[in-house]
């Protein structure tokens, strides 16, 4: 094995730089201002999120990564309006959000399709709730089902679909409302590696084709780097923004890039952030194992 000299993850090619310049010029869709979340439990208060500040621009793909229990789900649930912040604000298009609404689509980690509705009726659910007529809702739903490549399954029930297909329907269902932002909480957590990587490519394709901003939660480094423009790295206890990384990997992305120097450099950086090296030898060993996972050719 030869040791590859990695560039800095901060180094960006002109092409990548230009892309980020473009993104930064776009309007801000989502803004988090001094977000705090404290849970009061029997054992006392737990600070889940502290001082979160962040802006997502239009059509940007943002990933949030962090160790288990660092507050990722809490964050996205506050954005979705399913949980309220203890302090701070969430602004969507500059307006504060309170409570859930169809302007923010959400895809959950578990399967949350309505089992009693067919794929088509599931996708129509949001449209019908908004008061759209059955006829229009149906034709719109079919377009979205087409977009996620499930037109053959429009009349199937969720239980007849594989896990990957269910999550595609969930994406179609969320997008059908034409939300300003798509919130995804580890949507592929339960899928096998192969399906997972297929689903990632699907998602990039969909994102490329329509005008949607995405906030995607994951704890998988490769997934985050493969998908994101920027990655928000969260620190645990309390959940704070550790660093916001601009992914220097050019677009369009494809799985071959998993071993490109930019990719590996970014990966190494996030890994350091999430699993900081300690004096404890035990912990270092764990880090080495982590560094030599999937497609990794770097000697730790």
């Amino acid at each position: 094995m030869t040791r590859i000299e990695l560039p800095s993850y901060l180094e960006q090619s002109d092409e990548v730089k230009a892309r980020f310049d473009d993104i930064k010029q776009r309007e801000v869709i989502l803004e988090l201002k001094d977000l705090h979340k404290v849970f009061s439990t029997a054992k006392g208060d737990v600070t889940a999120l502290k001082n979160i500040n962040f802006k997502a621009h239009r059509r940007e793909f943002v990933c949030v990564i962090g160790a288990s229990g660092c507050g990722k789900s809490t964050l996205i649930r506050i954005l979705a309006g399913l949980e309220s912040a203890s302090a701070g604000e969430v602004l969507l298009d500059g307006k504060p959000v309170s409570g859930p609404g169809p302007d923010r689509g959400m895809v959950f980690q578990g399967y949350t399709l309505f089992p009693w509705l067919t794929v088509k009726k599931n996708v129509m659910f949001g449209l019908r709730s908004q008061g759209m007529s059955t006829f229009t809702a149906e034709s719109e739903a079919l377009q979205w089902i087409d977009l996620v490549g499930l037109d053959k399954f429009a009349d199937s029930y969720p239980d007849q679909l594989s896990g990957g297909m269910k999550q595609r329907v969930a994406i179609a269902r969320a997008l059908a409302n034409k939300p300003r932002i798509l919130l995804m909480d580890e949507p592929y957590g339960a899928l096998d590696a192969q399906t997972r990587s297929k689903m990632q490519s699907y998602l990039l394709q969909i994102w490329h084709n329509i005008d949607i901003t995405v906030l995607f939660i994951t704890h998988d480094l490769d997934e985050a780097i493969y998908l994101a423009d920027r990655i928000l790295v969260l620190k645990s206890h309390p959940g704070e923004v550790e660093e916001i990384i601009e992914v220097p990997v050019p677009r369009p992305r494809d799985p071959d890039q998993f071993i490109s120097p930019e990719f590996l450099a970014t990966r190494k950086r996030i890994d350091e952030l999430i699993h900081p090296p300690s004096d404890d030898g035990e912990d270092d060993k764990l880090n080495m194992i982590r560094l030599t996972r999937v497609g990794d050719e770097v000697e730790p």
Binding site: A80, L82, F108, G110, T112, F114, P115, Q130, A174
Partner: protein
């Protein structure tokens, strides 16, 4: 081919094995019953008198204990008189399978003893209507309350503590009160079925409602569903198959209250038939009538189960019974 063991925890049986075991589960008790009825030395604690001989109080077809028969025979023998003859028999309350089978037909074709009395099919039908009204009235009120209790904590808090208390009160205890209020005919009977069903029903339905995956409600919220839509478009359709299963179980319980209910006020329905036949010592008819209740209960449950599969097509693909 049959490499799968018969006893594997939580593993479904093949259709063939299921069928075999279903038949055996009915055949086994029937076999035991037949053995006790037809094999004389297994039980048969009585003797039926064929010829009284010189025992003064014996009559033909009289049932006496074996002990008594032996003693009387000895006495007669010592006196040098004619011995009585008899066959070993079971007590009158245990008729043989073939007698009960015959009773299944004859009890329907036998005319009532008195003009004012009902034919068996009329009695059965009367019982069914009592169950129907008691259960339907209970469900009409109990299911909505249960669903609301399971959906809204406030509704639950105001109903459930009292219901938890009330459900421990035995329904038949309200018999006298029900008669005082509702008269002696069908009213109090329906009321007993109602009381016996309603309180359990609210608690069971609210529990089922609470078991609905909360993330379905959250998903609906993020899709823009409003309050009433949550209830009618998510909660209710979401629990419907389980609610249907609950109702099937509750209907079975309602049947168990039937006998008590029908004894209240003027005895009626199948219970009247059973008590009447027991009085005449027609125990074959009694057995037949009891079995009819079982058959009606089982049949209605099978029909409802099939109906459930038909009205909840999304359940068909899932592995749920």
């Amino acid at each position: 081919m049959t490499s799968t063991p018969w006893f594997a925890p939580r593993v479904a049986l093949s259709t063939k094995r299921t069928r075999v075991l279903t038949i055996v589960s009915f055949l086994l008790p029937l076999l035991i019953w037949s053995a006790v009825s037809y094999v004389p030395f297994l039980w048969h604690p009585k003797v039926v008198v064929v010829d009284p001989g010189d025992v003064s109080y014996f009559k033909v077809d009289m049932l006496v204990d074996r002990e008594v028969f032996k003693n009387e025979s000895l006495k007669v023998e010592e006196a040098g008189k004619t011995l009585p003859t008899g066959k070993r028999a079971n007590p009158i309350y245990l008729p043989a399978p073939h007698e009960v089978a015959k009773a299944f037909v004859t009890s329907f074709t036998t005319e009532p003893q008195r003009r004012s009395e009902q034919w068996l099919h009329e009695s059965l039908w009367h019982s069914i209507t009592i169950i129907f009204w008691g259960f339907t009235l209970s469900s009409l009120i109990g299911v909505p309350i249960g669903v609301l209790c399971g959906t809204y904590a406030a509704v639950s808090r105001i109903h459930e503590p009292f219901i938890e208390f009330f459900r421990y009160l035995p329904a038949p205890a309200f018999g006298a009160l029900a008669v005082a209020i509702l008269g002696i005919y069908d009213g109090p009977k329906i009321a007993i079925i109602f009381i016996g069903t309603f309180f359990q029903q609210v608690l069971i339905v609210s529990n089922t409602t609470r078991k609905l995956d909360i993330s379905l409600l959250e998903a609906a919220l993020t899709l823009g569903a409003k309050r009433m839509q949550l209830l009618f478009k998510v909660v209710i359709p979401g629990i419907l198959p389980d609610l249907f299963r609950d109702l099937r179980i509750l209907l079975g319980w309602a049947w168990t209250y039937l006998i008590v209910a029908e004894l209240i006020g003027t005895s009626s329905g199948i219970t009247w038939f059973i008590t009447q036949q027991a009085r005449y010592k027609n125990f074959d008819n009694v057995f037949a009538a009891i079995m009819m209740i079982g058959i009606i209960g089982l049949l209605s449950d099978i029909i409802l189960a099939k109906l459930g599969k038909y009205i909840f097509p999304w359940e068909r693909s899932a592995n749920k019974a």
